[in-house]
Symmetry: C4
């Protein structure tokens, strides 16, 4: 616990959240697909990457700010799109964007938000992107994008790795399901109920277009004036297709190990994506970021910023907007300390020379 009574690091925030949440709800947040091996591996990979600190660099003034697309953020962390924040706190996504904005950070709001996007946007203090899927009903898909633009979102995030839930065995064992209207995620779709494409909420799981291909992604980009970030990429091949589809950014992500187990982890394929993209788009990553050193390592491998997912829920569960703000401040302080102790005074000066050759699993020695 720190002075304000909050935990002192993100792992302890997780422990604190475990204590305040129902087991079923907690498990639904932290659980992953089948054996949860990807979740474990993600931390192992981060922990095995070794920093090479430099000495006697002037670090008396450190600037952690950077930009993601056109938005300036106070440090290179974004809040990942994740549905159902009311599951862990009644203020839901309104608390989330308030905490993020007060910390100078950008939030990617999930289409599965438990508060309407317009309400969230009105409450927000910082920049927002809106996250969507490719839908069978292109009219709904397009209308969601237009509403987001209207509401003031400055970017769209197209998730391409979720065609339905993974096999989450904790939820199966707990017989867990979101409570209607609380942890549920129908609110942003509600204007379309009864319409031609979506007769009832029960049809929602069918709405995602599992036949979508890269031409649908290109169409999605072409039909909006907002920049589009494609999320869920784990291969160089798909990263190239993102660029060809007109994406402005790419989120390297294994969906937190929640959809498919034993995939490559995002941190270990980040380098291959950065290489092939070669600056044609910004590259971000999520998956397992828990320490300031993790953020700096991802940046050293070429990420422009990282996203955090589960820690949002832990912060909200422990203390609503205040708890989440404390979580974000821990990350900021740890990034700041890591920069001071590795000889980096700006985000832009963090490069691969900061990492030990050969300490990134899956990355050939020649790369780092």
């Amino acid at each position: 616990m720190d002075k304000a009574g909050y935990p002192i690091n993100l792992f302890e925030f997780e422990d604190a959240a475990r204590r305040v949440l129902d087991k079923g709800d907690f498990d639904s947040v932290v659980g992953g697909a089948t054996d949860e091996l990807t979740i474990a591996r993600t931390r192992q990979v981060f922990d095995s990457i070794l920093l090479r600190p430099r000495r006697l660099v002037d670090v008396s003034h450190r600037d952690l700010s950077t930009t993601v697309l056109s938005s300036r953020v106070s440090f290179p962390v974004m809040l990942a799109p994740s549905g159902g924040h009311q599951l862990v706190h009644p203020d839901g996504e309104v608390a989330t964007v308030r905490a993020a904005g007060s910390a100078g950070l950008l939030t990617v709001l999930s289409v599965g938000s438990t508060r309407p996007m317009e309400e969230v946007a009105a409450a927000a203090k910082g920049p927002l992107w809106f996250q969507q899927h490719i839908l069978k009903d292109k009219a709904i898909q397009h209308d969601l994008a237009e509403r987001a633009k209207e509401a003031g979102f400055c970017g769209l995030c197209l998730t391409v790795d979720s065609l339905g839930f993974g096999k989450r065995e904790r939820d199966l064992r707990n017989s867990w399901r979101p409570i209607e209207g609380q942890g549920s995620s129908v609110i942003n779709y509600s204007p379309y109920f009864g319409g031609p494409g979506l007769k009832a909420p029960s049809q929602l799981p069918e709405l995602i277009d599992t036949s979508a291909t890269w031409s649908d992604a290109a169409d999605f980009v072409a039909q909006t004036t907002l920049p589009v970030v494609i999320k869920g990429i784990l291969t160089a091949e798909d990263a190239r297709l993102c660029v060809e589809s007109g994406a402005s950014g790419i989120v390297v992500s294994a969906h937190g190990g929640r959809n498919l187990d034993t995939t490559v982890t995002s941190i270990e394929v980040l380098g291959e994506v950065v290489d092939i993209v070669a600056g044609a788009a910004e590259v971000y990553m999520d998956g397992g970021v828990r320490r300031g050193t993790d953020v700096v390592k991802a940046l050293a491998l070429g990420a422009r910023a990282v996203l955090i997912g589960r820690p949002i829920f832990w912060g909200l569960a422990v203390g609503g907007a205040g708890g989440l703000r404390a979580t974000l401040e821990i990350l900021r302080d740890e990034i700041d300390l890591t920069m001071a102790l590795t000889g980096k005074s700006t985000i832009g000066s963090i490069d691969k020379s900061l990492l030990m050759v050969g300490s990134v699993p899956g990355v050939p020695i020649s790369r780092v």
Copy 2:
């Protein structure tokens, strides 16, 4: 537990079987040779192989069916030859072939079946192969093959890695031995008792020809019109000899770690076998397959299909034909989900680009 009260994955089926079986019987099914290191390693190797999921591929219609030799199966899993199914359920192999057939799968019936091959064949709904050894008494060996053909089996499986039991220390500690007429495996040999080659059941352990060489395998192939699959191969050298002997298929197998400990595991040598065979025979594998991701990984390394052994016993022990059917459906659903989430809509499209370079132990980086 799922809706029908069955476990939700194969590991939990194993736990459930442990609870319903006598310890000696359970150990006889799951145990392996000496220190059981190969059993542990098999899972470690599967878990360490990393998938590279592709995005925005049309996976709205997924076809899991394939063929093994001339038989169409609904997904690329076969039931491995394994004796003594009555040990865990009174319906024995009759339940096995009913469950397999109703799932659209092929069963390889062990010569050590506890029900006569003719009875099993009559009860079967799906394709069957019959498994044999090279015997000292070639007349018995040949007659078994002829009976199998008569009974409607469409292929023969010649096991070449079992010249007697391994040192199974669980059985030694439990003083375990199969009960006569129940877990015993004499039934398919009973017509020959009292004949010139096999005076009494007590001579059965002596019947396997430990002096057999590859010319015996070639003779076995030559003396039947059924296609022959040779099972128990762990080296490229022997795989080549299988092809030269006329085999139509090869099962890469370490016999479930039950005969010799600390051998190479089947999944890590699968690639070297596929390479040398180069399409001249179909290549299958068994050993440690417990998840849909395991099946997809084996296919990515070049297997046409995989076989499961111990899970048959767990399914039968938990619920007879119904329990085994539930086991098979879990595997099918997991394979289907893995394909959806990796961007594969057909079995034929699964290839080595789906695996991370260097993540297969024992396989040089250049192969995968």
Copy 3:
């Protein structure tokens, strides 16, 4: 326990210290930054380095003595600069230098000593170096160096990896802070209190110059006639800058894993530093040295000597100067035995042929 009632190795000294110290104090000594992964890794690296013992070499007379800069020491171990020895024993650094001197060893006295440097120097029997930081107030920095020279210190040690404390979570959880005047480290700064650069002890944490660069290090060297050793180097790049700054020695160090977690460990980058320095300065290392075999391994990788930190506190806590002396004798005896059993009768004959190719993590096979 040995005959005198002391523990028989350094790990048992740690256990004994745990029993006699308050938890907060003990944790403050042994704890490290955040997840303490670097601390664990340091031991793993030492343990994984494999010795290649030679036989039938005349080892009847073994000479463990060597020199560090101009000082002869009885074996290649130095006492690392570490503040606050009175935290664990009332005699503090006076006990430390007496034990070190009687063992024929050199002590690097921390500026954070809890006894005045002049008193410590007067009590010492062996050679001493004085450790400092680059300060904002160059007058104080220079005066400290002059006082050290006056007091008889024969070298200066410039610590460059400490710009403030790391995030030591044990201390945060224990709400631990040094008791004023006991574990505190203000004594050597007390003459400057009330002066122009340091009005009060509360300003001390602000005194370190976080804007310092390598030209400040060069100035530090230039302004003293004593040889200067720079401590806290973990990269070849910085080692080269040490040499260019005029340093006579370099301490490869990760600060005991106390400042930043998941850095490279000193033992695994020692070789790269030795290579680039190429004899232009002496190279030492600290971090995790607990066994005589560790010392010999560091020497084989090119270190002239090693430093120990935490074991000083354990020895003092267990038995003051006597306990520390016992600690040092254990190390000496273990080094002696290692030399006898690897065929080395002199320190100078220990070279990289003593290590198995490929057994040093992070060091390419071609180096060892």
Copy 4:
């Protein structure tokens, strides 16, 4: 337990010995130097080496016999020189050689035998070698060798890796010391007490010549007509010197991890020794052999035979000569089964093709 009430493998023999022996005595047998890491690593290395079994080789007649120098043994295992067998059984080394001889094996009798070498030789049924050190008193050294030849020993074993005990911390903690006249090892030296070179038993520890060099080894070989095997080699450099000294055989050995910790293990350097010796001497190994698969792996790496040490004590402790005989039979049966299941009918046919490329730690892929 097997039918005769004996344990079913060597690990269980160790457990059984633990139960019947005093803790101090048991620890003195199984313990090693300092942290006992080499002991653990030895097993890890054996377990990680993977066998490549071949199929359809005629293994109906298996011949496990081989020769070590001129002696035929029934399988490629020797009993390692080890002092003090009366510590665990009153029959001491007399029981040892009876068990070994009845199993068709060769025993290397330690100079530290607790029964006179002449008595042991008279009781023996199988071939014997006598183990010595290079002594300061060459007359005693020479007389021991002559006595051994007179008594019928057919080879000498010169141990070169023991210049005094290692730091065995179990013994220090247990304050363990051998009981005079029981576990003590003075009996073979007793004729020399009171003579010019050895006034009293208390001088025995001083008798080993720590100044010995390879010319002393060459003298040792030159002064006997018996073949000499040099024991305790862990490097190619020393193996070459063995050959140049005239040795007929070499025992690659880390002295069971009892003298120096974190050395290379014998199994992982066996290949480099075999390569450099290139047939000029026979190469044996000891260290960690517990399974028949271990023996076969050592042979595949080029060893002519292996030696076992601690298992002798376990067998004797559990059942004297009968217990040791049971231990040896387990090894023989496991070797036999390993050969049957890997397609080897003779010892001579076991070669490196039996091992997976890259599965031997420390051995470059190109070697195996």
